[in-house]
């Protein structure tokens, strides 16, 4: 245990004192992640309830989730941040999407958009996963290079390099496959 002053083994055996220490130590990590995702103007009760859901999930089924945590893979605070953020996102989705009967949905909203162009097949492996992720972040998510670099945990030059190589590969592929595109 590096940053952790909590004995997770004792906790997963049902040691109440270990659980109390864990809750005291990591409540702020869970609370901060939930509050950040729900937004600073979210009602305090709502943030509390979602944070409490996270604790419930952690001790459910005899601390099954906590027993699955592997300290060799990530810091406990990082892992808890991901879990708390996931809970907050799920909460927002449930809040935004009331259930609708299928009959209540207009038929034209269920129709598929007609394909205007024939499906394009790109050879598997043309782009690496990292290159695809860079293009997805820059163009689909419309992030700046700096933000994409921060999210991927790499420096900006790496993102620029991946971006440049990926576009070069795509241009070359489309020029070869569809000469009219190369103009």
């Amino acid at each position: 245990m590096s940053e952790d002053s909590v004995d997770l083994k004792a906790l997963s055996r049902g040691d109440k004192r270990a659980w109390d220490r864990f809750a005291s130590r990591y409540a702020r990590v869970i609370f901060a992640a939930v509050q950040y995702r729900l937004g600073r103007w979210a009602p305090p009760d709502e943030v509390d309830d979602v944070a409490q859901e996270v604790f419930l999930r952690l001790c459910k089924a005899d601390y099954r989730l906590l027993r699955a945590y592997d300290p060799a893979r990530a810091a406990l605070s990082t892992w808890l941040t991901v879990i708390a953020t996931s809970a907050a996102i799920d909460h927002l989705r449930r809040r935004k999407a009331p259930e609708l009967a299928l009959d209540a949905v207009p038929e034209d909203s269920l129709a598929e958009e007609p394909r205007l162009q024939p499906a394009i097949r790109i050879p598997a492996g043309l782009l690496s996963p990292r290159q695809a992720l860079v293009l997805e972040l820059l163009y689909r998510r419309d992030l700046a290079v700096a933000d994409a670099a921060e999210i991927m945990g790499v420096d900006r030059q790496t993102v620029r390099s991946m971006h440049h190589k990926a576009l070069a590969k795509l241009r070359a592929h489309f020029r070869a496959d569809e000469p009219e595109f190369g103009g």
């Binding site: 040691d15 609370f31 901060a32 950040y36 944070a51 996963p129 992720l133 576009l167």
Partner: protein, 172 residues
């Protein structure tokens, strides 16, 4: 290259045309990732192969990417102190467990704590009362048996003595 010119003019169109096919291929080769995978990616503790697998999943699963982005932002943000009420509620989720056998002070504390709980105290009182009734009844029955046995013994003895008196030589 200036930051503002990093994106290519034809970039959006190129990616739009290629995206579906590329992401379908990545989704086929990338299994769903879990919170542990994302946490390891965020901490930068993955080897090249594992990193590629996670990035394939991130590129092809919008929900995973959304979670990664949100978690990264949360990690970068300033921490917020949790209210005491949340800590107390969380701590109350785990019940007190029986202490290890060797810990007699823990057992004593647990037993006293159990008595102080209203429901458990009543149940314990009921059990104790039942045990007392059974014990007293058993004692009385046993005492009655002893009295009866001693009376029988006395009668038999008297009869035996009477037989001896009557006809001592034959009996012995």
């Amino acid at each position: 290259m200036p930051e503002g010119n990093s994106k290519a003019a034809d970039g959006p169109a190129l990616w739009d045309r290629a995206r579906t096919s590329i992401l379908e291929a990545l989704a086929a080769q990338a299994p769903n990732i879990d919170e542990a995978d994302l946490a390891a990616y965020l901490d930068g503790d993955l080897d090249a192969g594992a990193c590629a697998r996670v990035e394939a999943a991130l590129a092809s699963h919008a929900e995973s990417l959304e979670l990664l982005i949100a978690a990264r932002e949360a990690l970068e943000a300033a921490p917020a102190a949790a209210p005491e009420s949340l800590v107390a509620r969380a701590q109350a989720l785990a019940p007190a467990r029986r202490p290890p056998i060797g810990d007699w002070t823990g057992r004593l504390a647990a037993a006293l704590g159990a008595l102080l709980e209203p429901r458990r105290g009543l149940a314990f009182a009921g059990l104790a009362a039942g045990f007392l009734v059974v014990s007293v009844a058993g004692f009385e029955l046993g005492r009655a048996e002893v009295v009866y046995s001693s009376q029988v013994d006395r009668l038999l003895t008297q009869e035996f003595v009477g037989l001896i008196d009557r006809d001592g030589e034959d009996l012995l």
